[in-house]
């Protein structure tokens, strides 16, 4: 009796309307989920794009850093030329200038960036979202570059150590005080004065001490070759920074 009544009630239902209702629920959940995925994807793309745009000031800073390293090394190279002339006893180079140049040629400066932080900030998932190879390729090169190749300790050569053992401490201090590293770019980079117009008391003795160590000439040549390597490495990073910056600028 109960079964018959239940069957009759079931038969009395509008099954078409029920099927439509079921379809609506399924489609509703599906569309809701699809819209959710789509909006998440759009948000992620927007985030990647914003992150890329935010990189532009960093690109500018990187470029300024690279320029400062190149300028710094060019300045030390000029001092090295004077120091070589001093060792050659070129009459145009005074003992005073020789000592200053020998010291300044040993000044070094490298990048203090940590490449891994870059990679972590702009993680692999963000990188995978970038379809444009013009952005992805230089970004990946910059993210994976071994920045320790540009670090200061790469320039810590025998010349730097030994010339500082030969030049008396008070002279070194005087040169550092008057013509040492200067902070530039709001303290983010260093510069070395291109000239050092100071008078050193005891320059003749210091110059003689330097000339008593002719091995320093070879060591300075070796030091200069390390700087040449730094130029090559800096140029490599600069090229990628320029390429990335150009590609990001197209995003606007």
């Amino acid at each position: 009796m109960i079964f018959k009544r239940a069957a009759a009630k079931l038969r009395a239902q509008d099954w078409f309307a029920i099927a439509v209702e079921l379809g609506i629920v399924i489609l509703g959940v599906f569309i809701g989920s699809w819209v959710n995925d789509w909006s998440q994807q759009r948000a992620a793309d927007r985030e990647t794009r914003e992150l890329l745009l935010q990189l532009r000031p960093e690109m500018t800073r990187q470029r300024e850093s690279m320029t400062s390293i190149t300028d710094y090394s060019k300045t030390t190279r000029n001092y090295a030329d004077v120091a070589f002339a001093g060792w050659r006893r070129d009459p145009r180079v005074s003992d005073n200038d020789f000592v200053i140049a020998a010291y300044q040629a040993s000044q070094v400066y490298g990048l203090s960036a940590n490449g891994q932080t870059w990679a972590t900030i702009f993680g692999g998932d963000q990188l995978r979202r970038i379809d444009d190879p013009a952005i992805r390729a230089p970004l990946q090169r910059l993210m994976t570059y071994d920045y320790s190749l540009l670090s200061y300790d790469r320039m810590a050569t025998k010349y730097r150590d030994n010339v500082r053992l030969v030049i008396p401490n008070d002279i070194q201090q005087q040169i550092r005080r008057s013509c040492g590293d200067r902070l530039i770019q709001d303290g983010r980079a260093l510069a070395l004065p291109a000239t050092c117009p100071i008078t050193i008391a005891g320059a003749a003795q210091a110059a003689a001490a330097l000339r008593a160590h002719p091995e320093l000439i070879g060591q300075l040549a070796q030091h200069q070759s390390a700087i040449s390597t730094q130029f090559v490495n800096v140029a490599l990073v600069e090229t990628q920074v320029d390429a990335l910056d150009k590609a990001i600028a197209q995003l606007r």
Binding site: F84, R141, Y145
Partner: protein, 257 residues
């Protein structure tokens, strides 16, 4: 009285319709969830495929670097042979060629890649999404490679240091300017020949200085041994990159050019 009215109202409901509606909601949500899971699984699959596809250009880059590095050291080895001939006093090697070769043999190039950053950039965080175990293993083997073994540091040895202390700076500078490293995006190229003019006197003087340090020949032999060890580390990277490229092609239906 209130209870009776409530019971009467409950009885008056169309419980069949309510049950059907409840079933529709449960079934609908279940199906919706199932569709959602299915679409998430597909998204994950897509993501894994994107990861693998995006690996390809990087692996091709590594392959190109490997080839570039091999070419580089083939050239430095030729210079080294000329330099060793020069130290042996071989008459076929001019003083200028000897000096140039001695310098060029000290040129080194290494991979400027930070291994940890590379694995982050390649997507170490998403490797677990790759279903194919062979492909996953191959990806992990590249990501976990110790790139420090391929830095140029291991080649900054006594020969490189000493020969650069002995060859006069202006000569070195001229060699570097005319025949030094040429930069591509990822690796360095060393010109195979170096036809610069070193004056007879300058060359003779530099060659004599080099010959007055016969220990440099031994140091150069050691440098060559170091280079061979470095290249064998490079082969180990190659042995990981090439099979991975093949697996990616098989998995994505791509063909290597």
């Amino acid at each position: 009285m209130i209870f009776k009215r409530a019971v009467a109202k409950l009885r008056a409901q169309d419980w069949t319709a309510i049950s059907i509606e409840l079933a529709i909601v449960i079934f609908g949500v279940w199906i919706g969830n199932w569709v959602n899971d299915w679409s998430q699984a597909r998204a994950q699959e897509r993501e894994a495929k994107t990861l693998v596809l995006r690996l390809r250009p990087q692996l091709e880059r590594l392959s190109a670097i490997e080839e570039g590095e091999r070419d580089y050291y083939r050239i430095t080895r030729r210079y080294a042979e000329t330099a060793l001939d020069g130290w042996r006093g071989d008459a076929r090697v001019s003083e200028a060629d000897f000096v140039i070769a001695a310098y060029q043999a000290s040129q080194v190039a290494g991979l400027s890649i930070d291994g940890s950053s590379l694995s982050i950039a390649l997507g170490a965080d998403a490797v677990h999404k790759i279903d194919d175990p062979a492909l996953r293993e191959a990806v992990i083997s590249v990501m976990s490679f110790n790139f420090t073994a391929l830095r140029a540091d291991t080649l900054l040895d006594d020969y490189r240091r000493h020969v650069r202390e002995i060859i006069p700076y202006p000569v070195q500078q001229r060699i570097r300017d005319s025949c030094g490293d040429r930069q591509t995006q990822d690796f360095l190229i060393l010109p195979p020949n170096c036809s610069i003019t070193v004056s007879g006197q300058e060359a003779a003087q530099a060659a004599a200085m080099l010959r007055s340090h016969p220990e440099l020949a031994g140091q150069l032999a050691f440098h060559l041994a170091q280079t061979t060890a470095w290249l064998s580390n490079l082969s180990r990277l190659e042995a990981r990159v090439r099979p991975l490229l093949t697996l990616i092609d098989q998995n994505t239906g791509l063909k290597r050019p």
